[in-house]
């Protein structure tokens, strides 16, 4: 330790640091999608929302010099895309999955088009809070430089869990998701509930994107998301539509993403493709273990369907 190296401890530390650094976009997108899907609609377009959020956050932060305005802009962009999805899905006989795929392509394409002039400039980044002041190991201090968005995301998960169970709004969203007839019988517009749920979902996904471009990796480029939005949507199913499980799953995916590079850095060099695939192997394994042909997925909102 005297020479500043920590040997094999790099691996657990990198997985821990990776869970904090890489998980935030997963966290925001999956929590947002959790709200949308609980209301009975799937928005697959969140990959596009994530990329649009990343681009608009970077652009606004660059133009105004304030990264927080960038985060807000990302959220607003995300909710507009959410409104677009919900608006199209409100029309009769429209399939929400097909609309989602269209919006995924639309969002990424538009972001690449508008983001062209943003690749070169450097925008103001979000600040990090130093939680590692107590340690004199540089690596620990670096891993504990935490962005406040991560903390907001972690706090949001139990709040959502509580809100779904005990608040009026939570009940309405669940009713719309479990039985649209019941919601209608209570005198509520199912479409209006889903519109709001999709907009909130888009807002959160947009903020997840702002983390990518304004904190980590911390600049705008076209390969930035590389499918994280799609992974996060799948993660919601993996987490059984439970916000707390979404949080743990996001942390696991973040940590798993750090595993490949960390193992190579300590000299475990064989099979790095396998380690890079760790998050997906994990998903498959859990899906296989928990699936049963005898029942539907536990926790799945009844209104979610691919046949509508």
């Amino acid at each position: 330790m005297a020479d500043g190296t920590i040997g094999l401890w790099t691996v657990p530390l990198a997985v821990f640091g990776g869970a904090i650094r890489v998980s935030t976009p997963f966290l925001f997108v999956s929590l947002g999608e959790c709200i949308t899907e609980r209301s009975g609609r799937i928005n697959l377009g969140l990959e596009g929302t994530l990329v649009m959020g990343a681009m608009s956050a970077y652009g606004i932060s660059y133009l105004t010099g304030s990264p927080w305005l960038g985060v807000l802009a990302a959220g607003v962009t995300g909710s507009l895309l959410g409104a677009l999805h919900a608006g199209i899905c409100s029309l009769p006989r429209v399939n929400d999955i097909a609309v989602g795929i269209a919006l995924m392509l639309f969002g990424t394409g538009l972001a690449f088009y508008l983001g062209k002039p943003l690749i070169e400039p450097t925008a103001a980044r979000l600040p990090a809070i130093d939680f590692g002041w107590w340690s004199d190991i540089a690596q620990v201090r670096a891993a504990l430089r935490i962005n406040v968005l991560f903390l907001i995301g972690i706090a949001l998960a139990p709040v959502l869990y509580w809100a779904f169970r005990t608040t009026r709004w939570g009940l309405l969203i669940r009713t719309a998701g479990e039985s649209s007839d019941a919601a209608r019988a209570m005198g509520y517009s199912v479409l209006a509930i889903r519109l709001r749920a999709t907009m909130v979902g888009g807002f959160l996904a947009g903020i997840g994107g702002s983390f990518l471009s304004l904190f980590y990796p911390g600049s705008w480029n076209e390969g930035l998301s590389s499918g994280q939005g799609v992974t996060a949507v799948a993660l919601v199913i993996f987490a059984r539509w439970d916000p707390m499980l979404c949080m743990w799953a996001s942390l696991a995916f973040g940590g798993a993403a750090a595993l490949g590079p960390a193992l190579q850095s300590v000299g475990v060099t064989s099979g790095y493709h396998l380690f890079n695939a760790a998050p997906y192997i994990l998903t498959l394994a859990i899906m296989i273990i928990t699936c049963s042909p005898k029942r539907t997925l536990t926790g799945a909102p009844a209104e979610l369907s691919i046949t509508r």
Binding site: L224, G260, Q264
Partner: protein, 369 residues
Amino acid sequence: MDFSRISRRHLLQGSAALTLGTAFGARSAAAADTTIGFIYVGSRDDYGYNQAHAQGAAALKKMPGLKVVEEEKVPETDAVEKTIESMINLDGASLLFPTSFGYYNPHMIKMANKFPKLHFEHCGGLWSDKDPKNAGSYFGYIDEAQYISGIVAGYSTKSGKLGFVAAKPIPQVLRNINAFTLGAKLANPKATTQVIFTGDWSMPVKEAEATNSLIDQGVDVLTCHVDGPKTMVENAARRGAMVCGYHVNQSPLAPKAYLTGAEWNWEALYPKFVKMIAAGEAIPNFYRGGLKEEIVKCSPYGEAVSAEARKHADDIKAKLTAGTYTIFKGPIMDNKGKAVITAGTDRGQKDPELEKMDYLVEGVIGATS
């Protein structure tokens, strides 16, 4: 896509272009008003591979009588054939630069056979006698510039640990890693290079994670071979490590941390090609070169580079430019202890054995598989 309609339209346009071409004569057209097409696999301002080519294209735009058409983000599929055809038929391009590795075979070869009067110049391909004569491949021995980066890195590291964020273990990448390491050992015989492969050319999150892991291991100077070095440069600089760039000059991204870098010099090569065509000279179908031929160059030294490092690096750079220096000079051992170049064997710049490189030299921590 309605294929029959497309091909009929292209046939009409193609024959029109051919008529024009024969009327004015291909060569005189090249001198007076030539259109040159550039095709990039990614975004042309990626601070990396594509931007280097776009800088070369920009140098051509400044020359009189030349028109440059560009298309970005063209995948390495049939799409590139369509782009080439439309550049020829709609824009009248007579010289084409499909710049990505995967464009070469079969796509560019097919187009070169179809338009035998036009010139095709490909970056990175291996032209052989079987390929059409109006096609060519050019590439630079950028490992020479990586060697210089290695020398500077070897002097600048305090821990003796260098880091290399690499995409895939293919010969070109391995050659850069090895040259960088051999250069570093010239300055500091105990220096090691830790390499991390991310698995693909553009993986920003993985590249950032690799950078952080390397720095956690005590690495204090990093370089890379990925399409967009921006992520590595910015994240390393944020952690207080120093960097050597790649593809283009990234010093504006991290002015304090930037030591030097291995850059392409397409802005020197492309005007040279155009002048050769205008003068009626044939461009060699297999065109290669390094520092001497001005195909690659080194970024200007950053302020953190010591006088001793500058002197040593400048000295080797002068020898490489004069063509009197061999980087891969035996004996060289790989990092498993096997002699890969025996004592007394000099593998010069153009040695085809080096283009098949599948090992990492002694001093590199990492494995090719």
